[in-house]
Amino acid sequence: MMKYLDEFRDRELVSKLVDAIHQKSVRNIRLMEVCGGHTLAIRKYGIQHLLPSTIELLSGPGCPVCVTDRTAIDQSIAFAAMPGVIVTTYGDLIRVPGSESTLNQEKASGADVRIVYSTLDALEIARLNPDKKVVFLGIGFETTTPSSAVALSEARKQNVSNFFLFSMHKLMPPAMAGLIDQGIKIDGYIGPGHVTTIAGAGMYAPLVDKYRISVVVSGFEPVDLLQSILMLVNMNEEGRYGTEIQYKRAVTKEGNIKARELVSRIFEPADDTWRGLGIIPESGLKIRNEFSQFDAALHFNLRIKPVPEPKGCLCGEVLRGLKKPDQCGLFGKVCTPVNPIGACMVSGEGACQAYYQYR
């Protein structure tokens, strides 16, 4: 028995919700999830098969590894190729193809690339190797950024001057707005649960007001997802829009204020490039001047030439909800989880891999 998991996988509750959705849903609507955890959970539990034909589910840009621009991957690989540098990273990033190599291949050729569980482990590696420069590859959305912020705050406190962060951190609301600006028709967002645990549901207010769209912040179990879908159906059928929280056991309007304050002390919004979506204003987080001594991008100042995406890969279209993974000619044939061509097949929560694993 796993508390807070098993209750939300209950068969009886699931069937109640499914019945209610079938009864309420009349209009055709397209709902997009923008969290890789949701992509995976929807496929794993087969949520799409439980819904009426009026509801189409789309996967959006919710997998950090997938949306990380190829130039940033090349830059990460370039750090690993430098003498005297240890690159530390979450496991997700290690197999993502850059233009010529992956971090994994660099490691196999002798580069010092280490997978860590936590940013504090990376900081510890820096403390134990004062003659080396340790770069942590900071990837992820609002959920993950506070971990990087703690590491920089601790690096300053403990005076660890050989620790550097390469910030590829991104913000979710600008991407949600960007998709609508690009003309993609979305009737409601299944809002990312743990992103909002940190950032608070209040952050969607400008998006909701500007585009008159609904966001329901959802948990990750089948009962959570179905209840969120029902809430979005109700809002659409009743002609309402707004932000609602389904995942109330972990999400509030304000979020985790301590984490938010720490993040804004260390990072500031900056324009950033997303795979498939291009440059989105104020959608990335760069390290503030006060902490620039830890900024790997400034310290190493590498010039990386932008490269196009691999030929035939539709990862960019998949991330915008324009194509389903199985509409890509490479899907399941030359592009598989063992031999991924594009980033969407690399990560366990990438739409392509989630579709592949639960075909």
Binding site: K16, R249, N256
Partner: protein
């Protein structure tokens, strides 16, 4: 990547909690939450406790769905 798991705090030492995830014991940094105590359930993400889980809200969510039939059908 934003995956976080519910875990029960078994002990706290300094800024680190030992927490049980269905019986497996993991360490969680408490840098981001101030008010966690032994016995609380927290969400753990990349080694950090992100937030305490509200038992009251969890029960309320379940209750609302159980009542669903009476309201909508």
């Amino acid at each position: 990547m934003c995956l976080s798991i519910p875990a029960k705090i078994l002990s706290i030492e300094g800024t680190t909690a030992k927490a049980s995830v269905g019986g497996a014991i993991v360490n969680a940094s408490l840098h981001l939450v101030d008010d966690a105590v032994v016995g609380d359930y927290i969400l753990i993400h990349t080694g950090f406790a992100l937030q305490k889980i509200s038992e009251e809200e969890a029960l309320e969510t379940i209750r609302m769905i159980k009542d669903l039939q009476n309201e909508t059908l």
